[in-house]
């Protein structure tokens, strides 16, 4: 039984099924990432948990308690951090952080103590007198986090809170966010379309597409054992290669497992492919090799090999080479449904 549960959850906007039958268990204290392309329903799902949208059908439980339209957002024990941070522009950082506490009717002395604690946690004590427009993106994000934490909610809801930061700051903020979540141990649902964020942050990842959860598991599970071709190609950059040798099955393998045959020890069981190279990209730490497989493949699909710089075998454009994938890294999918065929998916 999950700390936050969704049962048969639907949300339809007219003809559009934003959320189309979601069952989800979020365990107490974990950080669960909802990952998917834009329009997959992840934000709508989160907004229903927050109480900002009412489900068309289905139920949501928080800590075993049914939260329906009679339970407004304020009674759900949740705190939310918005993509835009949604700070009150006319209030100082202090007033922003104090706002949820004032709404609870806490005495001023207690509010002051809590704001001080929250600001201390994110290292923004010196910024409390400033208004949002006098703060940088990273500082605003910290104010938003502090505002969400002072109320000591049962569940955190994060809606792409890092996407407005520049790339460098994002990596630091991601690390800090994870530290902070571990430290206070509050159940957290985190929405993002960025797979690196999802892999780096999540205890578990729920991959969504077209209003449904396609797979839920640890980052390693969803990456190594994707439940279907959507998950296989959505995760990973470059994505998993999918090739077709017979009409019923697709063979999948990750670009980093697809290497020149000589790179593998002779006793390792591998599947060998003839690989005609079209283009080579040198990216510094590795080489991306684009090409196509020869020998009885039905589709002329582009296949990518991601070769680390430690393998220095010369590869020329236009030539064909023997490449191989370790047998235990091959994945098989049904050509029609896209579902995984070999049964050890998580």
């Amino acid at each position: 039984m999950g700390y936050v549960e969704a049962r048969g959850l639907h949300k339809h906007f007219g003809e559009v099924r934003a959320v189309d039958g979601v069952d989800l268990d979020v365990r107490e204290g974990e950080l669960l990432v909802l990952l998917g392309p834009s329009g997959c329903g992840k934000t709508t799902l989160m907004r229903m948990i927050a109480g900002l949208e009412q489900p068309t059908a289905g139920e949501i439980y928080i800590a075993g308690e049914l939260v329906d339209e009679d339970v407004p957002p304020r009674a759900r024990g949740i705190a939310m951090v918005f993509q835009s941070y949604a700070l009150y522009p006319h209030k100082t950082a202090f007033q922003n952080i104090a706002f949820p506490l004032e709404a609870l009717g806490k005495p001023p002395a207690e509010i002051k103590r809590a704001v001080d604690w929250g600001a201390g946690m994110f290292g923004i004590r010196h910024l409390l007198g400033r208004r949002p427009r006098q703060l940088s993106g990273g500082e605003r994000q910290r104010v938003a986090l502090a505002r969400s934490v002072v109320r000591e909610p049962r569940v955190f809801l994060f809606d792409e809170p890092l996407s407005n930061l520049d790339a460098q700051l994002r990596a630091v903020a991601r690390f800090e966010l994870k530290q902070f979540q571990r430290q206070i141990g509050t159940t957290t649902i985190y929405v993002t379309h960025d797979q690196i964020e999802a892999m780096g942050l999540g205890d578990r990842i729920a991959v969504m597409n077209k209003g449904r959860v396609r797979q839920i598991g640890t980052p390693q599970e969803v990456y190594a054992n994707p439940a279907d071709t959507f998950v296989a190609t959505f995760l990973g950059s470059p994505p998993m290669n999918l090739v077709q040798r017979d009409p019923h099955r697709l063979i999948g393998f990750r670009p980093e497992t697809f290497l020149p045959k000589g790179a593998f020890p002779a006793d390792r069981p591998v599947e060998t492919f003839r690989f005609r190279v079209r283009e080579v990209e040198h990216l510094g730490s590795d080489r991306l090799v684009y090409g196509a497989l020869e020998g009885g493949f039905t589709a002329e699909a582009t296949v990518i090999a991601d070769i680390p710089s430690t393998i220095t075998v010369p590869i020329a454009e236009g030539e064909a080479y023997d490449f191989a994938v370790p047998r235990d890294h091959l994945r098989f999918f049904d050509a029609q449904s896209g579902l995984r065929l070999d049964g050890d998916a998580a």
Binding site: M80, F82, Q83, A86, L87, H90, F99, P100, A103, R147
Partner: protein, 312 residues
């Protein structure tokens, strides 16, 4: 090997090779602004300057004589109890009606912002008072406030709520209530539309954050929504103050300043003295009396609006 075609003629047709009027933005801009500028100068600027000049003169209608008498017109009107009453009325009508307009407009904007069936129809109906010509509206209102046929009186009477009878334009207090009512009725749709526009400019995230932060309706209204709407409300009030305090139509059409000159405002008094009474100088002095006050109010409010502007 494909044979390459000879390069096509890339030169533009001769017609477009020279710079045309459409290319000359500096000239075109001036040309297109000219009609508006002429309109403003001839129909707004000149009369205003003339009114200010007249207010310093002893001009009378029917005579072309222009005698400069300095501030004497102003001294005369300030000493006149009739003028002081009109000034008081103007202030009273403006302040009371604008206060009511803000409350009603913010309320209506919140209602219209919510999704419900028939919202478009209600929005359209709400804007009607703004579009109705003031003379037509005044006819309707004179009927509503008629001493014999007043629908308000008859409705109250039938409902058993009224014992006596309201002589709307016969009693100074009732007449003032009637005038303020019409002012509110006229200004509030415009203010509602402005506030609605302002509300759509407030990021929905911020309003939702306040909901998730657990704030009640009133806390959200007074601590989040109204402060964010303040700049736009200020603009709306500024318009309202200028329109209401300079309005001639409502009072003139409803009461003509009566009963016993108790509901005169500056505009009606200026009209009565300056045009009907032929004392152009004094009329102009009354008419431009509020000009400096309104200008200061306008500058002040625009300053407030800029300071509280929502920064992203």
């Amino acid at each position: 090997m494909l044979r390459r075609a000879a390069p096509a003629a890339v030169a533009a047709p001769a017609l477009f090779r020279r710079r045309t009027l459409a290319d000359r933005e500096d000239l075109l801009g001036r040309l297109m602004l000219a009609p508006a500028l002429v309109y403003v100068i001839v129909l707004v600027g000149l009369p205003l300057v003339l009114a200010v000049l007249l207010s310093f003169s002893a001009a009378f209608a029917g005579s072309l004589e222009f005698r400069w008498i300095g501030l004497r017109n102003f001294a005369t009107v300030i000493g006149d109890p009739q003028f002081r009453l009109a000034l008081r009325n103007t202030t009273l009508f403006t302040l009371v009606s604008q206060a009511l307009v803000i409350i009603l407009a913010v309320t209506a904007a919140h209602v219209l912002d919510a999704a419900f069936v028939g919202r478009r129809v209600v929005r359209f109906l709400l804007l009607l008072p703004w579009a109705v010509p003031v003379s037509l509206a005044a006819m309707a209102w004179t009927w509503i406030f008629d001493s014999t046929f007043s629908v308000i009186n008859w409705t109250l009477k039938v409902a058993g709520l009224l014992d006596g009878w309201f002589y709307w334009f016969g009693d100074p207090t009732l007449a003032m209530i009637a005038i303020i009512t019409v002012h509110v009725w006229r200004m509030f749709p415009f203010a509602t539309v402005i506030v609605l526009a302002g509300m759509s400019a407030v990021p929905p995230d911020i309003r939702e954050a306040a909901v998730v932060d657990g704030a009640s309706f009133w806390r959200r209204l007074f601590q989040v929504n109204l402060p964010l709407l303040l700049p736009i409300i200020t603009v709306s009030v500024l318009f309202g103050v200028v329109f209401t305090s300079t309005d001639l139509g409502v009072v003139w059409l409803l009461t003509r300043g009566g009963p016993y000159n108790s509901t005169h405002v500056l505009a009606t008094l200026a009209f009565q003295r300056g045009i009907l009474g032929a004392n152009l100088g004094q009329g102009a002095a009354i008419a431009v009396f509020l000009l400096p006050v309104l200008m200061i109010a306008a500058i002040g409010m625009l300053r407030v609006a800029r300071r509280t502007e929502v920064g992203a």
